[in-house]
Symmetry: C2
Subunit: 198 residues, 2 copies
DNA sequence: TCAATAGATGGATTGCGTCTAAGAATACTC
DNA sequence: GAGTATTCTTAGACGCAATCCATCTATTGA
């Protein structure tokens, strides 16, 4: 990305150092009981520096996924209106492909120990919504009504997030997120969509 | 609910008074630029009292929907596993039936003026997720896999939120939220679910 | 008159996230 | 080497949301 030796003061603390300290504390005391000051103190840096690496406390857990969602959103807005069929699947597959977030998986599997159940649910919903918004915009540009676009986009976005959750809860060892996403996509075709209607 | 004249000091400020003051200020200065202190000052009460009526600043806009979602969640957990087909539709229809949230509709139609675009998206996602969690739990109890349950639940929850959004954006005058929800439910049956798969 | 109840209030506290001015460590140039 | 631009760190202050508590005020009913 950047030259190994550029001008200026070298970075003293890395994202990894901070994330590691944060996860330790989350496990020890729980998420809410851990302040940003606690994290930076353990990492040996000042509180101010934390926000040079993460935009918020929860970002420690979610930055990996946020980067991937950001790229997917960029890709989605660039899709031409007439060719969204295969493109969406390709972009979402690229999103999950090779994804293995240490911090997030740790948090998901230890969510109750970290007192994170509510927090994770909340934060996951935000990511799902961000992805869904981009998907809905694409569907809407393709001529789908706003109402239908919101709904179908929510389904696809949920497939991504549900795949990550299923992967994390299965131990994060067996299979990849991409495998789970394939399961999710095939599940969409088999679901009883008429159930609530009947 | 409570007797019209019970013991104790009567309420000096109502939710409506506070909500009205809040919406005025949101329109004048924007949501972020309006502090809770500003709202209570205009309403003529102390800042402390605000949290006797609303649990948070955004709750001013969402308390109406939150109440309805809360009731729907209660109903959903009480549904027996073997009879979820018609029950889900009934409960979700009851959720939207007669819903006409002044504050929320105002905020949605004036979201850009209030500087609320991001905020509304965020908050709507949280409500959608709360509803989706209850729906997924029910589906899961009925034998659907966790992965598939998350996905189908997200679709139904999105139908509710999308119906509200569509209703608000159409001027909030023509038709009811329930009408839009009927549209949403029928849209689910007509959507090209195989699109991302092909 | 006197409790009991329900609400209102001021004030303190915690913690997040933002911002700014100052300082420290590095590379590049002469 | 001396100076300079660049990049990062840091201390400190700020505004605000939200919680908590002790105290005060208004009402009902005995």
């Amino acid at each position: 990305m950047s030259s190994p030796s550029r001008a200026g003061r070298p970075k003293a603390s890395s994202r990894e150092t901070l994330a590691e300290a944060a996860c330790e504390l989350f496990l020890e005391r729980g998420y809410d009981a851990t302040s940003v000051a606690d994290i930076t103190q353990r990492a040996g840096v000042s509180r101010s520096s934390f926000f040079n690496y993460f935009s918020s406390k929860s970002d420690v857990l979610w930055s990996g996924l946020d980067d991937r969602i950001g790229r997917a959103v960029d890709d989605l807005v660039a899709v031409p209106e007439d060719r969204q069929g295969g493109e969406v699947r390709r972009i979402l597959t690229a999103l999950v492909d090779g994804f293995a977030p240490d911090s997030l998986a740790l948090a998901m599997t230890n969510s109750s120990a970290m007192g994170l159940d509510d927090e994770l649910e909340r934060d996951a919903a935000l990511r799902q919504a961000r992805l869904a918004a981009a998907l809905a915009d694409l569907a809407h540009r393709s001529g789908v009504s706003a109402l239908a676009a919101d709904i179908v986009a929510a389904t696809w976005a949920a497939a991504v997030i549900a795949a990550i959750r299923a992967w994390a809860e299965s131990g994060a060892g067996r299979g990849s997120v991409a495998d789970r996403f394939v399961d999710a996509m095939s599940a969409i075709g088999r679901l009883p969509w008429s159930a609530p209607t009947s």
